[in-house]
């Protein structure tokens, strides 16, 4: 009697989106795959919870890189190829930005017309006349960079070919988003602020955010829009799990991997907290390199010095703080008008917001999501599902311990609710039916992720995706061990993690082919 086979081709640690994506691709190539997930749910933070019979999204969630069915973007194409069926609902608008100190109050929509002009350029033009041309030009540049990035996801080119065919990507790769916006475009400050609102989806201020990432984000969202699953993020996660299982993947809940077993520089298996030693020559790891090299590799003498330097040098990106509420009125009665609102208490400045994220004594920039506008059946009639989120750095919680934790959580949540209440002119505290406050500790509890990190490492100018891509191969420090989560190449986000998983599977398949040869 045994729970596991003697041997698998690949063990995937972590059954979240990247892990499942990786497992599906490997299974589609006929590999035997075991996924070990520590929680009793799939999807990691792409999940939901139920309070008194009512389901709520675990956090700020919208899926990019899908695009409409008749013009699918790369993740919809991948999910279709893997035959994962999910009931997607289109989010009506791109975002609202409300920054009273800048007199900014605008709603933008996704969409590119056949003539190459963008819907949001007209929306900005209506409030800031004379900007349409430059906004269109910026978004066209973003689109070119986006398309090049996707091409390079699949192909390798010489430097000359790069310059000939992917000029926009090459020429902007060395600059921050701020540098490109300031030097290559003539846009009023207000418009630049409006076009910077998505910064929070990578958690990096524009002064240190590579333009490559900025362009990718803008083009993807503004071309394809965004989506939520009708059955909450749990539907997406579970649909992927079921599909992976149908493809032959063995997916096990409640399995915490404690050790990754290495001999002579090559992985040969894992050991779980339960004590099972399971063998495979390839391991895809959701745990951060910090955790892997710091605590998981057995024996520790197998960790190369270069791997330690890598993990120790990588700057942690942001984590999550969300207040998730069910309210006892319908959205209109609470003056809530849109799905997603970014709001700022101070003049919009991503450097200021970023610095505030190093502490927990007041965050000026919050994201408010009202799920009802994308998924009207998500609550019973007459109620609202609302979340308020900020993405601070893990260091903001250095002074928090188990004894002051609950008080800290409530103090932050109260401030965030009051902030949004003031904007709405409605005291949300008078309408709360259910409330859950999610902190980095919540993330750490359920996913085990290092420092409660959801966004991997910073997308900073000294950790640019272009540099990451260049060095993918030389950063495979232990043979057979591949990273598979938001700390990898493309970073954070649900769609990005599906892509991270795909990339991990590609690296593994190439290594396997090399070893077989």
């Amino acid at each position: 009697m045994a729970f596991y086979k003697d041997n698998y081709d690949v063990i995937v640690i972590g059954g979240a989106l990247a892990g499942m994506s990786c497992a599906m691709r490997l299974a589609s190539e006929g590999k035997s795959v075991l996924v070990l997930e520590r929680h009793n749910l799939p999807g990691g933070v792409a999940t939901s919870f139920v309070r008194n019979g009512i389901e709520m999204e675990a956090t700020l969630h919208e899926m990019m890189s899908l695009g409409p069915t008749d013009d699918p973007l790369y993740i919809r194409q991948y999910l279709d190829e893997m035959k994962v069926a999910i009931d997607w609902l289109r989010v009506p608008e791109a975002y609202d930005l409300y920054s009273p100190e800048d007199n900014i109050d605008i709603e933008l929509h996704a969409g590119r017309r056949p003539d190459g002009t963008w819907v949001c350029a007209d929306e900005i033009e209506a409030k800031y006349p004379g900007t349409k041309g430059e906004v269109n030009r910026l978004l066209e540049l973003c689109l070119k960079v986006y398309e090049s990035t996707l091409y390079l996801n699949e192909h390798t080119l010489s430097k000359l070919q790069m310059l000939l065919h992917h000029e926009e990507l090459v020429k902007t790769a060395g600059y921050s988003a701020k540098e490109v916006l300031d030097h290559a475009f003539h846009l009023p400050e207000s418009v630049k602020k409006i076009l910077a609102a998505y910064w929070i989806y990578v958690g990096q201020p524009l002064s240190t955010l590579p333009f490559t990432i900025y362009a990718f984000l803008m083009a993807d969202y503004m071309k394809g829009g965004s989506f939520v699953a009708r059955g909450f993020s749990h539907e997406m996660a579970l649909a992927m799990q079921k599909r992976a299982e149908a493809m032959g993947v063995q997916y096990e809940y409640c399995q915490n991997v404690e050790k990754i077993l290495v001999k002579d520089g090559h992985v040969y298996g894992v050991r779980t907290s339960r004590g099972d030693e399971i063998h495979a020559r390839y391991v895809a790891s959701a745990p951060y390199p910090n955790t892997v090299y710091g605590t998981m590799i057995e024996p520790q003498s197998e960790v190369p010095v270069q791997a330690r330097k890598y993990a120790n040098a990588m700057p942690m990106s942001v984590t999550n703080f969300s207040v998730v509420m069910l309210l006892d009125r319908k959205p209109e009665d609470l003056n809530i008008k849109s799905y997603s609102v970014f709001s700022s208490e101070v003049p919009f400045d991503t450097d200021v917001f970023w610095a505030e994220g190093k502490k927990h004594d007041g965050w000026s920039y919050v994201t408010t999501i009202c799920l009802n506008y994308a998924n009207p059946d998500c609550t019973p009639e007459g109620m609202t599902s609302l979340s308020i989120t900020n993405l601070p750095l893990p260091e903001a919680f250095d002074d928090v311990n188990a004894d002051n934790y609950y008080a800290m959580k409530r103090a932050i949540a109260k401030q965030m609710i009051e902030q949004v209440s003031a904007h709405l002119g409605v005291n949300l505290l008078d309408h709360i039916v259910e409330i859950e406050i999610e902190s980095p500790m919540t993330i750490a509890r359920y996913t085990g992720m290092y420092q409660g990190g959801i966004y991997g490492y910073q997308h900073s100018m000294d950790n640019s995706v272009v540099g990451r891509l260049e060095d993918v191969e030389r950063e495979q420090y232990i043979k057979g061990l591949v990273g598979c989560a938001s700390h990898q190449l493309v970073g954070d986000g649900m769609a990005c993690n599906i892509n991270n998983g795909r990339i991990a599977s590609k690296i593994i398949l190439e290594e396997m082919a090399k070893e077989a040869a």
Partner: protein
């Protein structure tokens, strides 16, 4: 296309690649791993807590209070007054768990020389459970247990609840309110609590002496006795008149007690037009007699079915009595499976139903929408109606 100038522009990729290599070179070559956030998370929510019984005392003719301290090398996590603890129990060949509201105050688990928590368990009533009776009869000082805490959402949430709280308690449902009262007295919970404790006879009152010893302007304790004509205090049931008498214009009601009390009290609160958001109900356990539950197939003859249990690549076949939840069938067969609330709410026993017909208790069905769609059940509140195949985690 130009940002600064041709040469600077085209060399950008080299620049960022080199910057990144330089960054990595600057990293420490030592193992400097530490994770403050995970440490705090582990202290807040330990996977298990090993505890030892340090005192056993009767707190009424029908209830016994057990004091637990952390076993050597372990530590009790913080909790919020009203939350529960799930105890792992081995009774004969059965491996089971039971959730009990913690009756002691949170500060007592985190301060003093001997931090502790207490569970107060009732016995001798027809509705007392198999595990409660076993604990009552067998648990003694020095016994070691594996505990899981804290769990549950039955606590005062200042961002949501009114400052004035009226607790409506019956039977052992008093225990979370005693925890709240103690914490208020200690000055670490800021709310006004009026406890209306409904009992048939004064002999049924649990923790009476202890509740009367609480001295705080913010705590009021009122017994409501239904079965003693000459009782000098409040008489009758927890009816709308009594509830109204002790309510403020904005009051949150916390309800904890046996299932029939919930139905009665809910009707009374509805009659008082208490808004839904002002009513907090503790989970109430799976129905004892599922055949009486709403929607259960009429004239279904009780039967023992075959339950095929898949764990990894292993398959076991066990018996499952149609009158017991699937969790209980697994426990009787000695198969470990996670359960915490045993009421269908918390989802710890989330199980894939691969094949077969089942009945899910409609009250307290805490499943996610997609779980219903993809055939997942919460085994603690699901009863077999045919031979079934389930998949559970390897534990």
């Amino acid at each position: 296309m130009k940002v600064f100038g041709f040469l600077k522009d085209v060399l950008g990729a080299n620049r960022v690649t080199n910057a990144r290599r330089k960054l990595i070179e600057s990293g420490s070559p030592e193992n400097i791993y530490s994770d403050h956030i995970k440490e705090v998370a582990n202290e807040l929510h330990p996977k298990v807590t090993h505890v030892v019984v340090t005192a056993v005392e009767d707190v009424s003719p029908t209830a016994r209070r057990f004091t637990f301290e952390a076993a050597e090398g372990d530590k009790l996590p913080p909790f919020q007054a009203g939350q529960y603890c799930s105890l792992d129990l081995k009774i004969g060949d059965t491996v089971t768990t039971r959730p009990y509201s913690i009756s002691s105050a949170p500060f007592e688990a985190r301060t003093g020389e001997h931090p502790f928590f207490q569970l107060t368990i009732r016995n001798g009533k027809p509705d007392s459970g198999f595990a409660a009776n076993w604990l009552y009869a067998n648990c003694k000082v020095g016994d070691a247990f594996t505990a899981h805490l804290p769990f549950g959402e039955f606590y005062y949430e200042p961002l949501r609840d009114a400052k004035n709280v009226v607790a409506l308690a019956g039977g052992s449902g008093i225990t979370p309110f005693y925890a709240m009262a103690k914490e208020i007295e200690h000055g670490t919970l800021d709310m006004n609590l009026t406890i209306l404790y409904g009992s048939v006879s004064t002999k049924d009152i649990i923790l009476e002496k202890q509740l009367n010893e609480i001295h705080s302007d913010k705590v009021k304790f009122v017994n409501v006795i239904s079965g003693e004509e000459d009782y000098p205090g409040e008489k009758g049931f927890l009816s709308r008149d009594i509830i109204k008498k002790y309510s403020q214009p904005d009051t949150t009601y916390f309800v904890c007690g046996p299932l029939p009390m919930y139905h009665f009290v809910k009707g009374e609160l509805d009659a008082l037009q208490a808004p839904a958001r002002r009513i907090r109900m503790e989970v109430f356990g799976a129905p004892r007699d599922v055949t009486a539950a709403e929607g259960y197939p009429k004239d279904f003859t009780p039967k023992t079915f075959k339950l095929t249990v898949l764990r990894g690549i292993q398959e076991d076949v066990i018996d499952a009595d149609s009158r017991e939840p699937i969790t209980v069938a697994l426990e009787r067969a000695g198969i470990k499976n996670n359960s915490r609330c045993r009421s269908g709410a918390c989802g710890y026993c989330r199980t894939e139903l691969v094949k077969g017909e089942v009945f899910v208790a409609p009250e307290g069905d805490g499943r996610r929408k997609a779980d219903k769609q993809f055939g997942y059940i919460h085994a603690c509140s699901t009863w077999p109606l045919s031979d079934c195949t389930i998949r559970i985690p390897i534990l």
